[in-house]
Amino acid sequence: MASNNIVIGIAGSGGDGVISAGEILVNAASSDGLFVFMLKSFGAQIRGGESSVRVRMSSEPVATQGDKLDILVVFSWKDYLKFQSEMLLEDHVVILSDSEDSFPEENIPISANKLKNWYKVPFNQLATDAAGTSLAKNIAMLGVISELFNLPKSALEKSVKKKFSGKREDIINKNLSALKAGQNYVKKEIEKKDSVLFEYTPGDPRIVMEGNEATAFGALYAGVEFYAGYPITPSTEIMHWLSVYLPRYNGVVIQMEDELASINAVVGASFAGRKAMTATSGPGISLMSEGIGLASMAELPIVVVNVQRGGPSTGIPTKTEQADLMQAIWGSHGDSPRVVIAPSDVEDCFDCTVLAFYIAEKYQLPVIVLSDAFIGQRKESINPNRFRDLKYGFKKINRRITPTEKELEDYHRFKITKNGISPVTWPGMEKGMYQAAGIEHNEKGFPSSDVSVHARMTKKRWEKFREIKREFSFERLYGPDDAELGVIAWGSTKGAVKEAVARANANGIKVQAIIPQILYPFLIQPFHDFLRHKKRVIFVEMAYAGAFRRYLRGFIRFGDFGVETVSYRQTGGAPFTVGQIYDKIVEEYEKKDA
């Protein structure tokens, strides 16, 4: 079977080099210009536990990891078992397993028809023979599959070299030998069955990024100057990355003692005039709720990234979920305005972070970027040129507005203006001294518990929303406008929704999806437009309680459009498959005449 779209899964133990193999594969494919998507998955053990990787490569754009594997590589069946539910197999799957694995064959929980293309390969042996160490078995494996399935071969060689660059020459060579040995093994031992054969034409190289890297890079691009944070899975890569690169641009990265300290340091930095941010996840974001409210009240721009994970409480730190939406919007006590933006893929992590700084600085309020583990920790290949001409480009993200000389003569830091935005000073500016405060205050910044002051200042703080709603709209629609069936989703479910919608329309099932980027304030017009032809809408979210559904209904009177709504949701952990969404679309589509 020839294919320009292939999904490869690899499972093994810590020492098997599963993740490295996946990365080399991704790099090779990307340097040949392919579209690549890579997901990692680990057990709870820090070292030596099971790990798996899934790589999808295609000559067409891909939006998901692919529902099922075309190729499965198993270093150890015992480890594979831990991932079985996450690694479903196509019927035509080709399986390669380590011939030295002693796992009893009769216990392999895979149906016979899927086992028909099963090769047992002596990965260890190949590595030891070629490289003198079984450590190279992952490379030998890459040799095997590249030969067997026609994966990018010369690019693979380049990627192996790059992987070991900085190492001794002979190490590089040994690994190259292992690669070769794998390829030769196929040529010699395996009578090529073209059950799966990858076909593609190389193109311009693409770059490879993880979502968290894209977020960190986006922050740097937007001119972040101060980062304070506390490590927490699955967000820490953002801090790791910035701690290397931000100091180069005179920025500061500080690891604080906890998230309370982080958010308050960020607010302090913003008070001092800096573009400031933090990133965290679940428990950390809960701890930050008070500090985020402080930024609302003191009208200081801050960017807070929440890379969502499985909850509640400590939950499942390494897995994904979308259950923090309402908390992002309403999570602090009091009427505390903040903007919430949700990236939907790796590129969008970059875009949303840049946008977050733009909005935070312009409107002087906290902006929450609601990412999740699924996008934060996966790799995607990206066209490097897309960064060259961006709407909220570097030059366009100005710092918050400062007062004129004249305004400084009788400076009112919290001056009530039409759009709620007032010019701001910071320490060091000769005029314009003022007191920032979390306590209610008047336009001057002096504390006040006067009821009418509270009313006026609250209104002022929320007026910004009106302006934001004027400034932004969005158009993230997939499928024909006149479809009567609609899908509304957000964040990382975009990929599966997009592919499912495409598949459905290809199959004559008319459906359209809409995926907002700015979630709060609620930009209603695009939804109203979207609903014009709809009769039935499916809400898709990766969370049990159905907060997204409630949220949408709180703002959109679906009844007025005569639209029936259906909630499709599941708890987090494993992201939706395209098939799940597709089936739901078909199910609801068929109801349309019922």
Binding site: A228, V252, I254, A265, M433
Partner: protein, 285 residues
């Protein structure tokens, strides 16, 4: 400091303090303002940062940049300000509850990192603003609104804690001894690094007017020959059994955080500082 450019009125804000008559915080505010006059720090080059409490209202009474933040977070807030602009003099102030109860987790870290700021805690051994509950420095046996049967908790010893935290300047003043207070605050602000000043600052409203007298009786200056450079000696003299010592109890010179950060930035820049978009190279496969 020949020319006196800034006088008391330059540091005073338009807000009239709303502290109770006889509150110790007046004395601390005055001593701080006098110290600022001595040091002639331009008001716009200062940020006074606080948490929540009667004492945390202090920034509002000064005509500088100020931030009356949230309860217990003056120190991280101040850290953010300082690291963002090392030229700004940062002074954090607050109460014993704000600092040693809810804020207790932040102090060791600002101290060990030697973040260049002055932290003045107005210790009145009570929660003033919330109208009289026990604080971490309330004496054993005391009846407060939350300790009807008498406070049972051993009070903390802030000076000893600070020494254990490796704070590089540790001192104590008494709001009723302005001369010493001005002198010590001046030194604290001059100190490069994290300087801590415990200000004994009575709360006549919730601890009674006797509190002032009791403190007055117990305070003593440090022995004439005292050298504040030996941490063990400092820990010993901070025992508070017989006397409460006023003055600079411990000090040490060591690198400050912002200097280290600057150095790090320089090392980092040397590695390379390409145009931001050129960093895309990092992601090439």
């Amino acid at each position: 400091m020949d020319e006196v450019k800034y006088s008391l009125k330059d540091y005073k804000s338009d807000l009239k303090p709303i502290w109770c008559p006889g509150c110790g915080d007046y004395g601390v505010l005055n001593a701080l303002m006098q110290a600022l006059v001595k040091l002639q720090i331009p008001p716009h080059q200062m940020a006074i940062v606080s948490g929540i409490g009667c004492s945390s209202r202090l920034p509002g009474y000064l005509n500088t940049y100020g931030f009356n933040g949230i309860h217990g977070r003056a120190i991280p807030l101040a850290t953010g300000v300082k690291l963002s602009n090392p030229d700004i003099k940062v002074i954090a102030v607050g109460g014993d509850g704000d600092g040693f109860s809810i804020g207790a987790g932040h102090i060791p870290h600002a101290a060990r990192k030697n973040i260049d700021m002055t932290y003045i805690v107005m210790n009145n051994n009570i929660y003033g603003l919330t109208k009289g509950q026990a604080s971490p420095t309330t004496p054993v046996g005391e009846q407060t609104k939350t300790t009807f049967y008498g406070n049972m908790d051993e009070p903390i010893n802030p000076i000893r804690m600070m020494i254990a935290y490796k704070a590089s300047f540790v001192a104590r003043i008494f709001s009723g001894d302005p001369k010493n207070a001005i002198e010590v605050i001046t030194q604290a602000i001059q100190h490069r690094g994290f300087s801590f000043v415990e200000a004994l600052s009575p709360c006549p409203t919730f601890r009674g007017v006797e509190q002032f007298k009791l403190i007055r009786e117990k305070v003593r200056y440090l022995p004439e020959d005292y050298q504040p450079t030996d941490e063990v000696r400092a820990f010993d003299i901070a025992n508070d059994n017989d006397f409460i010592r006023l003055g600079v109890i411990y000090r040490q010179d060591r690198p400050i955080y912002t200097d280290i950060v600057r150095k790090m930035q320089q090392v980092s820049e040397k590695i390379g500082k390409p145009e931001i978009l050129d960093l895309l190279k990092l992601f090439e496969p």
